[in-house]
């Protein structure tokens, strides 16, 4: 069994991609894998404390039918899935300092799911295999 860290860079801020990332995180955490997440650009924007639950839409490839299927499927919000994953495993969520600066954000402005902000080299301190970019 491979027990390496799951390293995810979240770039996209649409609900479908964030949900896919949250599901991967929960599965990895359940199977005892450490998860290391770096939030950049639009994904970081979606983690603002005052916006986390707002409608962030879906990726353009969804089209109208795909968007409707996503809404209809329902299920838990991605932020709740991430909260559960943090509850059962070792899941670190870090804000990219470059994106934080771009948006003029402080860690206090983000949902408490985010542990801290760090530079890209610090993120790679915890990377021990491939990095998945979503």
């Amino acid at each position: 069994m491979d027990d390496s860290t799951l390293s995810l860079v979240l770039f996209s801020g649409t609900d479908d991609k964030l949900n896919a990332a949250a599901v991967l995180t929960a599965g990895a955490a359940a199977m005892g894998r450490k998860v290391n997440i770096f939030l950049q650009y639009w994904a970081l924007d979606a983690f603002r404390a005052d916006r986390v639950l707002k409608d962030h839409g879906v990726a353009p490839e969804a089209g109208a039918d795909g968007a409707e299927a996503y809404q209809r499927h329902g299920g838990q919000h991605w932020s709740e899935i991430l909260r559960q994953a943090k509850g059962i495993g070792d899941v670190g969520i870090h804000a990219c300092s470059l994106s934080m600066e771009m948006f003029g954000l402080r860690v206090e402005d983000l949902d408490p799911l985010v542990d801290d902000q760090e530079g890209v080299a610090s993120f790679f301190m915890d990377v021990d295999g491939p990095v998945t970019f979503i």
């Binding site: 069994m1 599901v23 599965g27 359940a30 199977m31 005892g32 838990q76 899935i81 559960q84 059962i88």
Partner: protein, 79 residues
């Protein structure tokens, strides 16, 4: 169906992947060793995920029973 005494039943029907597994993990954490937990799930992913997690986490699958559109998973907390 089994005659084992079920201590706690979780109705996770309608919850998509990975909801039923996450609910099970929460219940396992809260229970004492020996506790028997039943999860009802209509999620297809649970059919592979729950057995995989049970093996990984070292618990015991007492029984799985197919029902109409959902599955009963009966698990004993082993450690």
């Amino acid at each position: 169906m089994t005659t084992v005494n079920i201590d706690r039943s979780i109705d996770a029907r309608g919850m998509p992947c990975p909801g039923p597994l996450m609910s099970l993990i929460g219940a396992i954490r809260e229970g004492e060793v020996g506790t028997v937990i039943e999860v009802l799930s209509s999620d297809e992913g649970s059919k592979t995920d729950i057995p995989a997690w049970i093996t990984k986490a070292g618990h015991e699958m007492v029984e799985t029973v197919e029902d109409e559109g959902f599955t009963h998973f009966i698990i004993r907390k082993a450690r």
